[in-house]
Assembly symmetry: C2
Homo-oligomer: 365 residues x 2
């Protein structure tokens, strides 16, 4: 986006205030909330830290779901700040059920918050945030905090309707711009906790950020060129309509899943995310050869597995800028790579299955 290379406006000037006001309003639309959405200059992890350091005081406890690298990060953050993190560990690729969350709340009735991950990037698993949040809200006072880093803008998320308290995301995922900004949406109920929270924080102090937001500014100099980029992205999303954006991601994701099935490739996640798909590399195929052919012959870099899944899975992103033909190209490169490596399947079956999906309109979710 060329706008990000134009001369820089100063963040205390009126031009920035107008821009930032429009961005903040469009962010509320993105998160489907009438509450504040704060803009932080950091990666998404910075916004996750802001949630933890602003909601708690020393000695409190919180539940967190660990089904992969990013769920695990909630646990690391809670530990770093001396909050007792009660881990709900699930198999990588699995998602937590409402029954499991209710059992955990019964066993730990005083937890201050429940930390979820809507789209677990290390496994491609989706969490039914709507159902879990409803269960939590019905049976407890715990705040519901959601890592929406690869979910926001890709999967249905209705902060107010679903009763979510904090949702965080980053700039380089569903918002399609370079990394460097993070966003944190926060409910009125959560603000009450922030006002009482006593953990140390300064750069990520949300009360300072709220005060600045009221005068259309940020407490510290923001990454202005990225704010300009996100303005363009949000106007685009607003124009298309958020439901249409969710539907597009659902359709692209389904095309990959149907193609995988037609090729006999297994999906890791039982409830897959619409932001990315993690597939098992067939046993007959060497992982290194697979990545090398994809990259060197077709210019496609797929993400590998992390932790114990290293060398066993590959992950395809379909979040953000991608369109129908990107999916077809990807599947076709995948077919040609598998062919070259001796994996047996009906050539063209993946592309055909994807085309079938991509010519239909798809329901969101």
């Amino acid at each position: 986006m060329l706008r990000m290379a134009e001369p820089i406006i100063h963040h205390r000037h009126v031009e920035f205030k107008e821009l930032f006001n429009r961005v903040s309003a469009n962010l509320r639309y993105l998160f489907q909330t009438s509450s504040d959405v704060l803009t932080l200059t950091s990666s998404g992890t910075g916004a996750m830290e802001a949630a933890v350091s602003n909601l708690h005081s020393a000695g409190e406890s919180a539940l967190y779901v660990n089904g992969g690298k990013f769920g695990e990060r909630w646990g690391e953050l809670l530990a770093a700040y001396g909050v007792q993190g009660i881990e709900l560990k699930i198999e990588w690729g699995e998602a937590l059920s409402t029954e499991e969350i209710l059992n955990a709340l019964q066993a730990h009735p005083t937890v201050k918050a429940v930390y979820l991950t809507q789209s677990e990037t290390s496994t491609g698993a989706a969490t039914d945030v709507q159902a879990l949040a409803a269960a939590v809200r019905k049976h407890s006072q715990a705040l519901v905090v959601v890592d929406g880093i690869t979910a926001v803008g890709a999967m249905e998320l209705r902060m107010d309707d679903w009763g979510l308290d904090v949702v965080v995301t980053g700039s380089q995922k569903g918002l399609m711009i370079p990394p460097g900004l993070a966003f944190l949406a926060i409910s009125r109920r959560a603000w009450a906790s922030v006002e009482q929270a006593r953990l140390p924080r300064y750069y990520f102090d949300l009360i300072r950020a709220r005060k600045s937001l009221a005068s259309k500014d940020t407490p510290w100099t923001p990454a202005i060129t990225l704010v300009e980029g996100v303005d363009v992205a949000l106007e685009m999303i607003r124009k298309q309509g958020i439901e249409a954006v969710w539907k597009r991601h659902a359709r692209l994701a389904r095309s990959i899943r149907e193609a995988a099935q037609a090729l006999g490739l297994k999906i890791l996640a039982r409830h897959p995310s619409n932001a990315l798909t993690a597939l098992w590399i067939p046993e007959s195929v060497n992982a290194k050869d697979f990545n090398d052919v994809l990259k060197n012959k077709y210019g496609i870099t797929v993400a590998g597995g992390q932790g114990h899944l290293k060398g066993k899975i590959f992950r395809i992103s379909h979040l953000g800028y991608y369109d129908e033909l990107d999916m077809i190209s990807m599947i076709s490169a995948l077919e040609m790579t598998l062919m070259e490596l001796g994996y047996r399947f009906e050539a063209g079956a993946g592309v055909r299955a994807a085309q079938k999906v991509l010519t239909k309109d798809e329901e969101a979710r």
Copy 2:
């Protein structure tokens, strides 16, 4: 810089590692150090927080010099993290003497660190970091931490020769690129403190950053487009030579100061910074009119005073991209504005005084 609008490279790819390795090496040159320089995605304040949260454990104490908004920020950060901050308050525009720092160290011999501000942006005052650091190192074990946010790249700073332990800066000042990155240089002696420090931190955890630096990476997704921008800026500084860059800033700053004197305008700071100059608005001139004419007629926005100096001073930046003719334009606009507002002086005297300086070579410092 158009390079910041090009397609984004992924931070785990080899292209990024090469870029980041070159940037990290050039940052060591910028800070004149053989120690690590870490790149953080945040404003300069984030790097200031990283210094505080990584050096201390609860219950420790530290000295900080408060001669303006940014010195005050060290105090706020120490307080936010429960470190006892012992304030050395000086008049705005003044600088601390070595005698004063030695007296303070004698009164508080157990302080863990001394926090300085090389160029106090709210007043345009410069601190003689070299002399203060030498005094501290000679008489105590305290770490020397320097806010170099408007100083690095504008004023002489030799981290290793001067025995500094931590120096921080931001991307949008001496490095001339948009805001969003901060840099923190850290001595071997300071690393020993970081390893023992027990304050909570995660996003700004410097040990994680050091570990990633060893594999030419950052722990969290960095603001990649800004890293590309800073690469260009650092190559430029390296080509000119850091001494030449310091000298250019010294010459530009002196041209403004000589012009001010020729116009009868008083400089706020007794030891002025080469990054910016704060001048008193003449008593006969209304501050609002002054700013309005400068902005509306000549398109120049000067920064005003903060705190008790609001409406009393104006601050001219000469940090980063500025050249000789920018200074002449600025001084000329200043003369014409003062003329229009009835302030009496010899027309052209400011420009003439500046020209005299700008045609000479100037010593650094």
